[in-house]
């Protein structure tokens, strides 16, 4: 293990000091250690969820001998590809509790990590375009409030007050009738979340090993004892937690188990930067598109998944066209804005649009996956509860409903209404 000088805290004063030193005195954010032969816990996948898991293992559970293995670069998966919407207004108690747990952690995250994750509670609006949409919205907002989660039902006029550029004239093919509105929801800087967790975990001694692809999970007598990696050979561990999003099924098959997951491409777009026109997030399940504006000024736009199974990190053309139609119907004023970039990630969808945070039939092998199109918002909560599962070996009350066995017992948590295409 390479030794690392104690991390200096980031602060306003530090910024001034570094400015005077021509920005040449900054420390490295994390080490690039060579892996040890054995760890207490190996986390596979250095996305936000894996890194958060490692951070809470070290900070909450005092686990020091932890490694995070990443086949590419940290934060290069869905964490660095998503459109960063954070909200907690899910319908069912189990999901609402889990996402609200994450929301509470978001609210103190920059302080906890000593890293500005630019969490901005600018509100999220989920539009309704039909009477049934509005009934579903009312039901969900009521359920949210009963669970202590903030939410309001807005009519079209109130939507227009918050988002003046939106066409609420009623003359569109799918008129805006109203929306659900969660004021505490918002966006965060996705890369900063990965970097902040990585820096904090590294400072507590977690080894983050990039360019280290797991190609096999070593199982002896029904018990996982380590992983085989392409670059560093075998690394042994007492417990293994897989947090590999779209590639979870590939990892599961290495251990000879099956997951009820299908991997689909999901894409997003950003426009050229323009002056501020939108200070919140607007999403529509019905016309299938959503938009926010980043601090740089680019419009961040996303849509639905490709309907087929795919591992190519790109999206199909029909979805691009469909998304732009939806966005233009809602926001006719952006019709001349150019799109700068388009990309895709591989999302791990489950039959009930809820994650799997679970033990497996293989002893000491755990999975945290199935976050599908909407797991960024859960990053702190997911890491927090998965660290608890890895440290204790048994689920707690937050994770128990999300066990793998629900697909055989039938206790699904159907969040399609609240999750569906919404992120």
């Amino acid at each position: 293990m390479s030794v690392f000088p104690k991390k200096r805290r980031f602060s306003g004063l530090g910024l001034v000091k570094q400015a005077l030193k021509h920005q040449e005195g900054w420390q490295r954010m994390w080490r690039s250690p060579a892996p040890r032969e054995h760890y207490d816990i190996i986390v596979v996948g250095a996305g936000g969820h894996g890194l958060a898991t490692a951070h809470y293992l070290a900070s909450v559970h005092s686990q020091a001998k932890v490694a995070v293995l990443e086949k590419g670069w940290l934060g290069g998966g869905n964490t660095g590809r998503n459109t960063t919407i954070v909200r907690s207004n899910y319908l069912w108690d189990e999901a609402a509790r889990l996402y609200e747990h994450a929301m509470k952690l978001w609210e103190g995250l920059s302080q906890d990590l000593n890293y500005n994750v630019m969490f901005s509670q600018r509100g999220v609006m989920n539009l309704g375009h039909t009477l049934q949409d509005m009934r579903d919205i009312q039901r969900r907002v009521n359920a949210n409030r009963l669970n202590g989660i903030d939410g309001e039902v807005l009519n079209a006029r109130q939507c227009k007050q918050i988002v003046p550029i939106m066409d609420t004239s009623g003359r569109t093919r799918y008129p805006v009738l109203g929306a659900s509105w969660q004021p505490r929801a918002g966006v965060a800087r996705h890369d900063a979340v990965a970097w902040g967790y990585a820096r904090a975990a590294d400072a507590r001694g977690v080894d983050i090993i990039q360019q280290c692809e797991v190609i096999d999970i070593v199982v002896e007598n029904g018990c996982a004892v380590g992983v085989e990696t392409r670059q560093h050979g075998r690394i042994r561990a007492d417990r293994i937690g897989c947090v590999a999003a779209g590639n979870s099924g590939v990892l599961a098959s290495m251990a000879g188990i099956e997951l009820p997951i299908e991997s689909h491409p999901l894409q997003a777009f950003v426009s050229e930067p323009i002056k501020p026109i939108l200070d919140t997030v607007v999403m529509s399940n019905a016309v299938h598109g959503y938009m926010s504006q980043s601090d740089k000024g680019d419009l961040v736009i996303g849509a639905g998944i490709d309907s087929y199974v795919g591992y190519g990190q790109r999206g199909s053309y029909p979805v691009i066209e469909h998304t732009m139609q939806a966005i233009l119907e809602l926001f006719p004023c952006v019709s001349r804005v150019h799109m700068n970039r388009q990309w895709g990630g591989i999302v791990d969808t489950t039959p009930d649009a809820c994650p799997i945070i679970s033990k497996t039939p293989i002893e000491n092998l755990f999975f945290n996956c199935g976050w599908g199109t909407g797991g960024f918002k859960a990053t702190p909560g997911s890491g927090h509860v998965f660290a608890d599962l890895l440290a204790n070996g048994e689920p707690n009350e937050l994770t128990a409903p999300f066990a793998l066995d629900r697909f055989h017992s039938g206790a699904l948590i159907d969040e399609h209404g609240a999750a569906g295409v919404a992120h």
Binding site: G249, S253, E258, L259, V309, G310, G312, S316
Partner: protein, 100 residues
Amino acid sequence: MFLIHCPYCGEDREEEEFHAAGEAHIARPLDPDACSDEEWGNYLYFRRNPRGLHRELWVHVAGCGKYFNIARDTASYQIHGSYRIGERFTWSDAEDSAAP
């Protein structure tokens, strides 16, 4: 954009004319009441989801309206063939061992 061959229309058509309907060749249990929870859950929810060769069901919604199968690679996106319901498709032996 996929160019998909509909084995019923005998035409190569753009992806937009079709809908993907998931993994192919999933047989409904003949006697559902006799299934264990395990078997029924597997039938309903567990799919192979391979990174590689995959047989899948598509429907030609904007054409003949019929369901048919495609053999496709989910990583390279290459379509190896289309075939009608009731037919089987085999890759070369070496490839097929990866896709039972």
